[in-house]
Symmetry: C2
Subunit: 199 residues, 2 copies
DNA sequence: CGACACATGTAACACGTTACATGATTTG
DNA sequence: CAAATCATGTAACGTGTTACATGTGTCG
């Protein structure tokens, strides 16, 4: 849903054509989340279908320009006004993976944690380096500022991830001797979960 | 891709039927990321199509049981062995929204930050409370442990988000007087971005 | 009996990615 | 001229959500 709203927000600023929308989007997010051009066009189709934007003839250069409508503006205002909430937080693949790894046999959790920590550290370093380079230009262009803040969010997120991994490793060390994964071996007798899938 | 791998990982542990797979998944992640039952069945279809799992007759109770195959097991091992990397980090709606808000006119960024901070604090409190309750039972069941660690990841993430919001607010205060959003008003003359969509 | 959980699906739709097709313009 | 970039699309596919249909079993 973020792409749809993002494009609409950009159109709120000024009428644009598809290719330009992608450029504007990527300029602000520094290509962290590359935007497929095909999706831009299909999204524009849907926006027009839903009455949030309309084709605005050409701009004298043959471009297919879209313009936001009144209801489109309302939608944008609403989007910016509504905070991102925790109901349905996006799935965290790492958390899911680790959660499953801990509850299943045949998985070397410590190895997993170690490998992930290395990878996450490398990620953090990449972000930090990019951040340093982005800050070097030090222009006050608001787009550069936005790009830097996006990088900061990635840095903060990566740091939190690493802290969490350390936390998990501690947990594991503390509990390794008290649990052989499951109170009853699922191979020996049907687990509780097997018999009663409800919680 | 995480659902597919998750279900396969569960099947690696033991043969199961669809409804049961959902229960097992949600038990481990504490319903943080509710899993639609319809998706379970379609995913199982695809797993079978791709030769990673097969229907295993019934279990004497008329359930449609699936069993993992050899290539399925290989796939699971690979999944657990491969760390989650930063190439293509998942889109962060909040970061995108704030990034756009800062570069567009007609958006009250400070208001947005304030509203989001309130919401994020509330999220954090919710997670912390759930975490406290989950830890209360204090069983050594590995599934409870997994659920607690998932909650911890949410807590760590929410804390990072709040720190980032504060960071952004500071940035904004520091730069508010030096930039009127854009070096050249896009209403007055064509912006750089408009003329040159490339970077 | 009626409500609810269990259990298996299908259909429609939104979103996202990759790849392909097509042509104009720019640039080394 | 060749390659890259600009520019607009379409098609196929995977993933994910919501809603619907259908039937069984259990429990108050």
């Amino acid at each position: 849903m973020s792409i749809r709203h993002s494009l609409l927000a950009l159109l709120h600023d000024q009428p644009m054509y598809g290719y330009q929308l992608r450029s504007e989007f990527e300029e602000r997010t520094g290509s962290t989340w590359p935007l497929n051009i095909g999706q831009v066009y299909t999204t524009l189709d849907r926006l027009e279908r839903d009455g949030l934007a309309i084709k605005d003839g050409d701009d004298g250069e043959g471009h297919v320009v879209y313009r936001i409508t009144a209801s489109g503006k309302a939608e944008v205002s609403q989007w910016f006004a509504a905070p991102v909430v925790a109901t349905n937080p996006p799935r965290n693949e790492l958390a899911i993976k680790l959660s499953l790894a801990m509850t299943l046999d045949n998985v070397d959790v410590e190895m997993l944690l170690q490998a992930q920590r290395t990878a996450s550290m490398r990620n953090l370093q990449t972000y930090t380096r990019q951040r340093r380079e982005a800050a070097k230009s030090d222009s006050n262009d608001s787009q550069d500022v936005a790009w830097i803040l996006v990088l900061d969010s990635l840095v903060f997120g990566a740091e939190a991830e690493i802290r969490w991994l350390d936390h998990c490793e501690g947990w594991l060390r503390k509990h390794r001797f008290r649990t052989s994964k499951s109170p009853a071996s699922h191979a020996a007798e049907p687990t509780n979960a097997t018999k009663e899938p409800t919680r």
